[in-house]
């Protein structure tokens, strides 16, 4: 009987098919991806059962961190530049083209308008640090002031959030306001923001949350 010959097989694996698959996956990810926006502070949003999705464009996001610092971001760079010019004009500030260009590229902003010039003069690494509040000693505090205390005339002139939101609305009327606040944010901060928004008649807005899964039997607890 002839012995069964064991065929010597080459260990080379044909990677062409594998390559096809990876290219396909890569294409999928490239086409569907929207990049995570860089945010100066890590914010853990609270969980909720609401399942409404947020629209993708025309969003004015108001970001609030645990300590109550308020930041804002707009999705269109052109809007951002227009809003900055509008706000600066209201405070009687002159900004150079270079400063406006720098502002356009910022993902998130959150500096008192009076310090905007010195903030924009920083390098981008330093800007990140300043937004985190590490430059307070150097005179650049983080967060947009939202002080609702009124002066003698009954106007809360230190409330810059109102000014920003108002001019953002003037620049883009389709804007939706989305509030993304950390779960542990003290309620007074939220209340200040809500009253500020109410004052300028921004009564509809979205609160960004994470999805909370609750069991069906917990939905209705009465018999």
């Amino acid at each position: 009987m002839p012995r069964v010959k064991v065929k010597r097989k080459s260990t080379l694996i044909d990677m062409t098919a594998m390559s096809d698959v990876t290219v396909l996956l890569l294409t999928f990810f490239m086409l569907t991806s929207t990049f995570v926006q860089k945010e100066p502070v890590q914010v853990n949003t609270p969980d909720s059962v609401s399942e409404i999705k947020i629209p993708e464009t025309d969003i004015l996001q108001i970001l609030i961190d645990q300590d109550g610092k308020i930041y804002m971001s707009l999705d269109r760079p052109s809007d951002k530049a227009n809003v900055l010019q509008d706000v600066a004009a209201q405070y009687g500030m002159e900004l150079t083209d270079e400063e406006i260009l720098k502002f356009r590229t910022l993902p998130t902003f959150g500096t008192p308008i009076g310090k905007m010039k010195s903030f924009l003069a920083l390098s981008s690494d330093d800007q990140d640090k300043a937004l985190k509040g590490e430059f307070v000693a150097k005179g650049i505090p983080a967060g947009i002031p939202c002080d609702t205390t009124k002066n003698e005339q009954g106007v809360d002139d230190k409330n810059e959030v109102k000014v920003w939101v108002k001019s953002a609305r003037a620049v883009n009327s389709n804007l939706r306001i989305a509030i993304k606040a950390a779960a542990g944010t003290p309620y007074p901060t939220i209340r200040n923001l809500m009253t500020s928004l109410q004052d300028i008649r921004e009564n509809r807005y979205n609160l960004i949350t994470n999805l909370k899964n609750i069991k069906d039997e917990e939905r209705v607890v009465i018999k």
Partner: protein, 219 residues
Amino acid sequence: MAEVQQKESGDGKKGKPKKMHIHVDFTPMVDMNMLLITFFMLCTTLKKPQTMEISMPSNDKNITEEDQTKVAASRAITILLGGQDKVYYYAGQPDYTDYTTLSETTFAADGLRAVLQDKNREIVTQLEDLKQEKLETGMPDEVFDEKAKEIKNVKTAPVVMIKGSDASSYKNLIDALDEMHLCGISKYAIVDITEGDQFLIDNYESKGALSNQIDTSKL
């Protein structure tokens, strides 16, 4: 390490053209693709964040104040958000002299939800029936929403006032709003806490020790 392998096959007979098998090694290509995929997977947000839509009453008309007084006491429920994730509620008008007018509950399923669904029993059962009907008949979403809205908007629906104290956090507010959603309550408002409400919480926490401090002349 990319290499083009040329393998000669055949037995090398003279005169016959050499057959060439060109193998391109795709391994580095796959490596690179995998790296790129990993990069894209880590840098993207596939899942869009959920949101809650709320509309606040406009400030200049002061509807809330009027609504507050108009609402029949039997239908009004006030939820007070306290510190340390505590939540209290009272129905109708509180009795400031009696600390037990306030009840404490939790955000768990058998806490605030049970209370509110009990008060809102009629609507909750109707909504459940509607959901069942939707499952059975395959009702389109628009019709369902329309009907649910009708059910929720009946005149006898309870009205909930959510008041957050200074010690509470944003999470408490979201939790409270969630309960509104789950209990089918469409009439609710986020209202500023009053001194009286804060007193109720303090009084409750101290088990009525503050009751004798009430300035009766102000009542």
